[in-house]
């Protein structure tokens, strides 16, 4: 639904993005996927209680035919999930099966192109090891059924091997390791990660740039979340929570840059909690207390209470990432797609390049990339030419 400004403010050109760049048509998309449960999409959606029964019933037939394929799963990576619809075999065999699944799906549905988006749960916390450093080592580890390869990596590997764009909606590393970057370059495939930016972190990367813009100091930021869906259940395990915590904690540092603004942000205490709270179901709620200070160090506080809906905010992100990843592939853009960081809590960037978490800079990056792709002028918001008298002088 988004639109994009083209040209000068006075031209009043604001086409919809979908009319500006050649995205795939929604009617041409076929959805499919893997799940650790065998419920078809109608059954799964009914249990999830995100959408009203009335809405689901209206498309029951369309949803029932979407039956998940067996998941590549390892219970050690999500202890609170009891997967019953899972592949057996080694990691290497599972990767082969995923590739077969994709080929079969593509043929059966007559698809021209495929995109993979990881919408699965957060995996437990892990860091990159030697087997994640090169493609060769990674492929050997696959053959060795090395437990350090997480399930999400099996999917990512399968996709990239086939030249299929892959975006990661969860905070686990997955494509954020050298081996995957190497593979993406090799097969000229776009990748993007990681962690859909939906509720509280969305708000945080909206608000923090605003505080920084005004040089308001931040002494503390306490963020608590309550949610009662399956995502909340998985995050109730401390190992899984840690992965999410690391992803969420990082955003403030980049935006506020405490090392360069020690008087304002050097002493910032940032704490994040997530609690499983069944009464809320998918209606995730966050409460933030932000301790700021202004001129002469005088203290002020901001409290934000966001009564959001986890899946309602996430679904359009998954779709946008699919459409833009596909566009990137067709446009010959491969490897890390930093311009998609607008959608992500913990953006993947070129090695050594600090990520950009400020959502407004991310948006400009996204929009200017689209303008650049389509040969339109980039927008700098300078705008001095609206004031002829200034232009004459300068």
């Amino acid at each position: 639904m988004g639109s994009i400004r083209l040209g000068k403010r006075t031209e009043n050109r604001y086409p919809k993005v979908k009319d500006f760049v050649p995205l795939a048509k929604l009617d041409d998309i076929v959805f499919g996927g893997w799940d650790v449960y065998s419920d078809n999409v109608f059954e799964a959606a009914t249990k999830a209680k995100v959408l009203e029964a009335e809405l689901l019933n209206a498309v029951k037939a369309e949803l029932e035919v979407v039956v998940p394929m067996k998941a590549a799963f390892d219970k050690n990576y999500a202890k609170n999930l009891i997967g019953t619809h899972v592949k057996t075999g080694t990691r290497y065999e599972m990767a082969q099966e995923v590739m077969n699944d994709i080929t079969t799906f593509k043929e059966k549905n007559g698809c021209d192109r495929i995109v993979l988006i990881w919408c699965g749960s957060t995996e437990i916390y892990y860091e990159a090891t030697e087997i994640h450093q090169t493609l060769a080592k990674f492929e050997q580890a696959l053959l060795d059924d090395d437990k350090r390869i997480s399930p999400s990596m099996i999917y990512a590997y399968a996709a990239l091997k086939m030249g299929i764009p892959f975006a990661n909606g969860a905070p686990n590393l997955t494509v954020d390791i050298p081996a995957m970057i190497e593979l993406a370059k090799l097969t000229e495939t776009p990748i993007a990660g990681k962690d859909f930016k939906t509720g509280q972190t969305l708000m945080k990367t909206i608000l923090a740039p605003g505080l920084a813009a005004r040089s308001l100091g931040v002494r503390g930021w306490f963020s608590t979340n309550i949610l009662g869906n399956r995502d909340g259940l998985v995050l109730d395990d401390p190992d899984n929570f840690k992965t999410k915590e690391v992803s969420k904690l990082g955003v403030l540092e980049d935006i506020l840059r405490p090392e360069d603004n020690p008087e304002l942000y050097g002493d910032l205490y940032h704490k994040i909690r997530i609690d499983y709270y069944p009464p809320h179901g998918d209606n995730k709620e966050s409460w933030d207390n932000i301790d700021i200070f202004g001129w002469l160090g005088y203290k002020m506080q901001i409290k934000i209470n966001f009564l959001c809906r986890d899946s309602i905010l996430a679904a359009p992100i998954a779709l946008d990432l699919a459409l833009f990843s596909d566009l990137a592939k067709r446009s010959g853009m491969s490897g890390i797609q930093e311009w998609l960081s607008f959608y992500l809590k913990s953006p993947q960037t070129a090695e050594g390049l600090p990520p950009e978490n400020d959502i407004f800079k991310q948006l400009i990056k996204l929009q200017n990339t689209l303008r650049h792709l389509m040969g339109e002028d980039l927008i700098t918001h300078l705008g001095l030419d609206y004031y002829q008298e200034l232009v004459d002088v300068l």
Copy 2:
């Protein structure tokens, strides 16, 4: 305290703004002003209870010598104020006196340059009439002591006549009329208006662009404010509140652009309240309820409670506007300074040009103007060149 990025992200150049552009030094500034009360600044600040007695006492001597000049005042423009330290005479005479005041102040303090910032209370609501359309008519009206000339216009006229930059921190029109723009051009003087963007509207212009960025619909936005300082007392009069209300209401339309996004913002109900609440004094507090909706129209809510301090947020804005207005004057920039809209609730723009209320675009405009002035590259956040493989392709 603000810094500005120069060059590419990898260059890591983030000088303080004050080290980047040739601003006046704080030690070189002398403060003076007019007030409807005769209290010196120490007395006034003590009564205002914004700063702790301890802090004020530490600079008592410096503050006591700042004694206000008699104000150009008309009680009809602020019924809840009982001014006791005011000029008599016609509007024309008052304008002459203000100019004399300035000349005297400048000589007495050995100042090279002067800047005027309107920090007075909000005047009652009025619209531009025929006498505000041209400089000639305005000057005739001055001679006629026409009551349609508000007190703030007397100061603005005096400043611009002398080539002194003028910025308006309140929501009354003041310099936002054709006669003043004409005079500013004539004397090559920068002007900027209007209404310091401090608490709730600051938050609104931070948050609304974030919602728009994600195409989240907005069905309602209810904003209430409580404050107990003299500003609150003045706004307790419905005529004065209306001026403030108009200034505050406008910001959402420009950012959300309902005419182009009717499904998302066409039905937005925006309501603003300000209540005088003595227990809070200067500690202005706002509470916002925002009714948003996402995918499939599902409803969500955001509540923001901002426990702020009115004057603490406003003081640095007044200072920045003074420093930048002075810079503009020295740089040969005259007339409307839209690049200063970053600080203002209701930015003045060239005729026919819609204002930009998105604080992040305002910031880019401000920063790119400074980069432009100093001959640095403008920043577009495209950043494709960090990814060599992309650059090769495109």
Copy 3:
């Protein structure tokens, strides 16, 4: 659904109230009423959007047969309502018609007894005049079609004249005038008023006794409400709002008793706002900021955000008042029923007797009245007898 403790804590006797006192059975109740619109109850409820369509459809047949009788109405008492289904004629004639309506309804439905509850909108603010002082003067004023008789008084008069209990759910005076009290005594009829205690005031009369219990000082209490139902529309008129404001403002004084606790409550600033906000419909929302102080005058704050549903909270109150008013009538209790003040924002009391707004004292009053009616011991919560060693000593 409420239960009541009987006897000592160790007896563990907690019957439901409905099993303890002889209330009318829900199945025996027939509902009817008057409305200024001709919609039947199904149509009205569908438009009100309080209940889901699914629920309403399940009882569509039962609701459709409830067709309102024409209302006794005077537009001057609710300017924002455009009544189209109203009685004509003088006030005296309208009163006669209301009595005829009741008689017809009673016969048609085979009812043994009738109770009237005023669930109409808030009338504009008015105070008692001479015509409200005695029954004789009131009846003369009826004959004179005196405009100082409000529509709600016409209903109250009709009910009391027929010996039918009347409870007033709105903040207008109605039965809270000497003439009605005189009539109620004459016909031995219970009356109760006024103003259903639902959302914010409910919370206030819960919280304020808690603060008073701990001798926490209160310096300010700011209450704002937003709602978008027809009640909100009526209250958008300042004259109607004033009636509601007076009713809501009174509760704190009685609970906190500033005259006896001047150091704690003598300087309390209490402000109430109600704003019409269509996006919320019947989902009334309140936000309260309470400025308290504790030991040594140190300041603290409480913020309460209540996302409530106006009608969902009001409906059971209307039902309870009907059931208990009927019980009172059968028990020979007539005149002012102060024990029902538990349900009311602005309780009617005997002349000269200060009202009791503390909801917990109101509850004890209600429960001890029921215990008294049924011959059970009153409960004092002394409980020393649980500790034999104490009893021996004292």
Copy 4:
């Protein structure tokens, strides 16, 4: 500062409690205590930053002379505390030393009577074992230096042995074990426990009775707390947090009685979090989200944000408990003082007697106990006699 109503409402008798019952005079009280740090009270209070320096300096001399005695301490009971001013020796020896400390203090200050209030940190979670069941076993365990005797029990034992009243402001068992109750009876000494009811739980026991009074269902109650004082530091250890959690979790069950109201409270999910958050210091802040439901199961929410000050709320409780415990002793009341449960999160009661957590019933219990002690009528809030017509009938 509290007052108490005596007699009928119309008598208007509301004396201060201190004028009604013979409490010790504030001027006659001498304060002393033990601490694990050697700072005198002026130093400790300065570090705590609860009170402004200005206030402390005004009574510097009085505070400096209050030097703590060495604490009976065992680091295993509070791992985050590094005690440097502690007694050595066995538990038996420490108990003897505490008794000597008291005797010395009493003589030195010429005190007639002594009261002990435990204001120390929360100890780690433990339950009563066999050594806590009888006085004989407990005294043997003291001699055996049994680690299951917590430090707070050493103080309690010393106090009760000397006939000195003891009240427990922390959630650890301490006097809430059979051995202590036995000792209290033996020496005819009042005891009261446990856990000062200050911030969030205070609000909870104010609000929950209000919801129960109206038969509003409660589906979930999420409570989070942030605080940055030493109490917060101690509770950052999960073992200590558990003690506090158990104390805080219990209050809802007694008030809502889910076993008797399963439709309303049978499915209640109650979750409590406490997070150490240094930016707030002693300014403890709580945020509660309460999911309630009304008629037909319709959902509503209440959010409470309490910006409180931990010590400011706790100090008067400690003082009241001291005054009333002393009164109890003089009045011949010994053993468990349930009438003081008004001040406590987890009230100690006679064996088998469910505690009363409803703060309003606690207040009535407290006030009726005082009335009973002084020979005044108990108050039942029946009040039918104000309405003569009712009295005649009934």
